[in-house]
Symmetry: C2
Subunit: 423 residues, 2 copies
Amino acid sequence: MKQSFLFTKTRRDAPTDEVSRNAKLLIRGGFIHKEMAGVYSYLPLGLRVLNKVVGIIREEMNALGGQEVYLSALQDREVWEKTGRWDERAVDSWFKTELKNGAEAGLAFTHEEPITAMMRGHISSYKDLPKYPYQFQVKFRNETRARSGLIRGREFLMKDLYSFSRNETEHQAFYEKIKQAYHTIFARIGLGEKTVLTFASGGSFSKYSHEFQTLCAAGEDTIHLCDKCRIAVNSEIISEHTACPQCGNEKLTQEKAVEVGNIFTLGTKFSDALNLKYRNEVGKETSVFMGSYGIGPGRAMGVAVELFADEKGIVWPKSIAPFAVHLISLASSTKVKKEADALYEKLQKEDIEVLYDDRDARAGEKFADADLIGIPLRAVVSDKTPVGKVEIKARLTVVGQERTSDSARIISHAELLKMVSGK
Amino acid sequence: MKQSFLFTKTRRDAPTDEVSRNAKLLIRGGFIHKEMAGVYSYLPLGLRVLNKVVGIIREEMNALGGQEVYLSALQDREVWEKTGRWDERAVDSWFKTELKNGAEAGLAFTHEEPITAMMRGHISSYKDLPKYPYQFQVKFRNETRARSGLIRGREFLMKDLYSFSRNETEHQAFYEKIKQAYHTIFARIGLGEKTVLTFASGGSFSKYSHEFQTLCAAGEDTIHLCDKCRIAVNSEIISEHTACPQCGNEKLTQEKAVEVGNIFTLGTKFSDALNLKYRNEVGKETSVFMGSYGIGPGRAMGVAVELFADEKGIVWPKSIAPFAVHLISLASSTKVKKEADALYEKLQKEDIEVLYDDRDARAGEKFADADLIGIPLRAVVSDKTPVGKVEIKARLTVVGQERTSDSARIISHAELLKMVSGK
């Protein structure tokens, strides 16, 4: 994409009421726009990043046998009354609204109730199980405070998968598989090394549930980390479980973290309340055994900004960067400009995602924007680069917990193509 | 996809409170689930169709220079007060809700106000224009009645593009281009021959706006069609404009129709109210000239069902069918079953979208389901089909306004592959 075509502009300052680092940088870079506290719109660059995160999650959910659906935001009061969660004393984060006939409707903050009710039409026998519907869907939560940018939204995209199994054994096998899939997802997104499995309170059907917490100074959660196992206990249950649940280590260290995912054994709580039953192998009516599994793609994007940004701007992990290459033309002559144009066309032709800064602007402005936007690889064509060559420089690269920045070097167009196409 | 894997079941009867043909068939086929009147969830088959429609629209919007964004549903009262549209006497279809601090928020029924406000951060000079952001986003409209299935929803997906131009001339050129793009889109979706450009009331900045109306008995609109030009006048303005605006023909025929798209010249109504200005070529502050352009992908899907379904079920146009082929195994022996499996694998390998009915069910049930689901091509492997061959039969095919149904015939696997891959 040509930068002269992109409608968004970078800006020097974030809105004064914005306190979180991720929102400040994402707004300055033109990735998102703040509509109100905790409510953001995605602009072209931001939507590209969000779609990359979504794409990675989708692949992993499909690989597990997930089937994508899209449930409504508007919710029928009746369904939620069956589990007691319509009541605002039980759930204090509802946004509610009113139909023309005066009936109340809610905006989904999660989807256990409607999906359980919906599955009644599709599950009747043990042969229909297990099943794993999932969706990417906007949730609404009436948060009292929303000052963490994409990390805590009043309206935010969520991937939620629900598992419907015959029994606890079948459920548990899937629960372990999704645990692994979540590790894979966070590794692919670039958050793997900072993200730890965290034990949280269970419920009637399991001792624990699990969160995936990314260690991050901007986190609103506190977790208690076992340095040996790299697993943690959340603050909710630390008073009861003061040691590492895996190795028994009692030296846990407190860390700030962001909950980027959670997995939960629901058991038959929802299927009992909403009458989701199946006939088992001997014809006996049995409640379906359920689980739920969430990831916030926008939140993961916000955390990536918090973790990897430097004083100059955002540094995207390769897998979720809006573009693979930021091609910058500093041409003062038509000849050099043509050379940059030709390289852009070549990259486009090879399906390489390239943002091409073809604007009529100063070199300093272009470099500052490139640093702010944070595309992993910068490629410059200028009066100084020899014909057929380009000067490349990596944006800070995250290697383990160290960061290295390649110094600039000159390579041929062919080498650049090879480098970014991975061929 | 194997049908044994698909979690949805077809059903003999639609919910008794469902009156529209499209909702009845889509629910029976397992494409959608009714949450409440005018509020539907998309199940895997339905989401596949919806995504096909979205994909076609996206391609055409990108070809016009559109840039995809995703704006929030939750709306800030303040922005809407500037245009007077917060007031429920001006807009009676708001869903409103309340933040924890008592402030009111709305759920977007459209996005002119927030996108105009947002663009203030990105437009300042004539060099920044024209620009065409668009989105696929869920709209909320508090309809009094919602009995037409996907044709009139309280919550529904919409593609809305907004044009920001320097002046009326530049706007008008784009307006004509999008008119053509809409014809292309409806043709590609399979609604082209039934969809007519319809003149509607304009506003302060243009004599007319335009609707794209699909002739359909289930339509809630009445249009006045000129048979010569195949353009129409909507009932809103027919009293003032009794003749065809193109050829002057006064013999217009009344037809029921569904509004599947609309395009509108907004002029400077929103940019004036929300202070979206740019400096023109001579440095003068000028209001941006705007237009808005909507299509409801779910509504288009509902109309396709209304138009093409027969007494046996849905008949999808090829371009938006959930799968290209419905492969049905009627094998009674392991040998034939293996043959069907092998053909399925072969189709999958060629990236052909195939729904494979591998279920343990009677032939009659499988055929009835195939007719209900409406995939354009049915391919049967049975004890009767010779080795390496398959029996194919087209679901009713829409040719012009006539429908033809190929009778079944036997072809080789290679021929089938060639037929569906289009190679």
